[in-house]
């Protein structure tokens, strides 16, 4: 039960990170400028990647514990 709760919390953190990254991405892909290019690749994609990694860690840790 506790394990399930930890998984859900991590999933929540991962989800929020991915949503933040995606929202930033919407604003950056609209404009064609070097600054938005760098924000998109350097910040937005990085935040999304962090979210994905958190999800994968929580997924595999819950699988191995089960």
């Amino acid at each position: 039960m506790k394990l399930q709760s930890i998984f859900k919390n991590k999933l929540k953190i991962a989800g929020i990170a991915i949503i933040i990254g995606l929202v930033i991405k919407i604003f950056t892909i609209i404009f064609i400028q070097p600054l938005t290019f760098l924000i998109d690749l350097g910040i937005s994609s990085l935040i999304i990647a962090i979210g994905i990694v958190i999800y994968l860690i929580s997924f595999f840790s819950s699988q191995s514990s089960a």
């Binding site: 949503i19 929202v23 991405k25 994905i52």
Partner: protein, 203 residues
């Protein structure tokens, strides 16, 4: 069109993630777990791939290059109303795509040339914001004939040109620059002396 597809993809992704966060019980079912995998892994990765492709293609455009204040005079030089000016002549007669004008001549036509060009651009970006003043923009290395010959190398006009034939080997080996005979170029320091092409939109 590609931009709209990405925005729709992002909107769907955000909606699905919000649904899962607000209804965590969904993760208890197999179908819910598949939905989590799709919205936390597959869709975000697709979004990153698509948006990076879009950004990469956008970064080749003339609009992208000229969005930097420092590059505005170079953009203006493409409209010089004098056909002796090589960039202006190529741009105005559509010998290079007007949408990708800067990139077409200033990339490197080698295996990883496009990537190298983008990395150089990244260097310019950091130099512009963190490296001090930009007063006199110069090419880092002399303009290589390879960039001209990418288009002109196979053209009949070039291959059968009486002037080119005696020095063909030198031109091919970049021992003699095309720019030695062909020019002038952007001439941004004296733009106020020129008249400019006023492009008429097709009605």
């Amino acid at each position: 069109m590609f931009l709209i597809i990405i925005i729709i993809l992002i909107a769907i992704n955000i909606g699905l993630i919000a649904l899962i966060i607000l209804n965590p019980k969904l993760t208890g079912f197999l179908s819910g777990k598949i939905l989590v995998f799709i919205s936390f892994f597959i869709l975000p990765i697709l979004t990153i791939i698509f948006s990076t492709t879009l950004q990469y293609n956008n970064s080749k455009t003339t609009q992208f290059c000229l969005s930097c204040h420092i590059m505005k005079p170079y953009g203006k030089s493409l409209l010089i109303d004098d056909e002796r000016y090589i960039p202006a002549y190529h741009f105005q007669n559509n010998l290079i795509s007007q949408d990708d004008a800067c990139f077409t001549c200033h990339t490197t036509y080698t295996l990883f040339g496009d990537i190298q060009a983008k990395l150089r651009g990244l260097g310019h970006f950091f130099n512009y914001y963190f490296g001090g003043k930009y007063e006199n923009i110069k090419l880092r290395t002399p303009f290589n004939n390879r960039e001209c010959l990418h288009c002109h190398g196979e053209s009949r006009l070039f291959l059968e040109g009486e002037v080119h034939n005696p020095i063909m080997e030198k031109l091919m080996n970049n021992d003699q620059s095309c720019l030695h005979c062909h020019g002038p170029f952007h001439s941004v320091e004296s733009l106020d002396k020129f008249q400019f092409w006023q492009k008429e939109e097709v009605k």
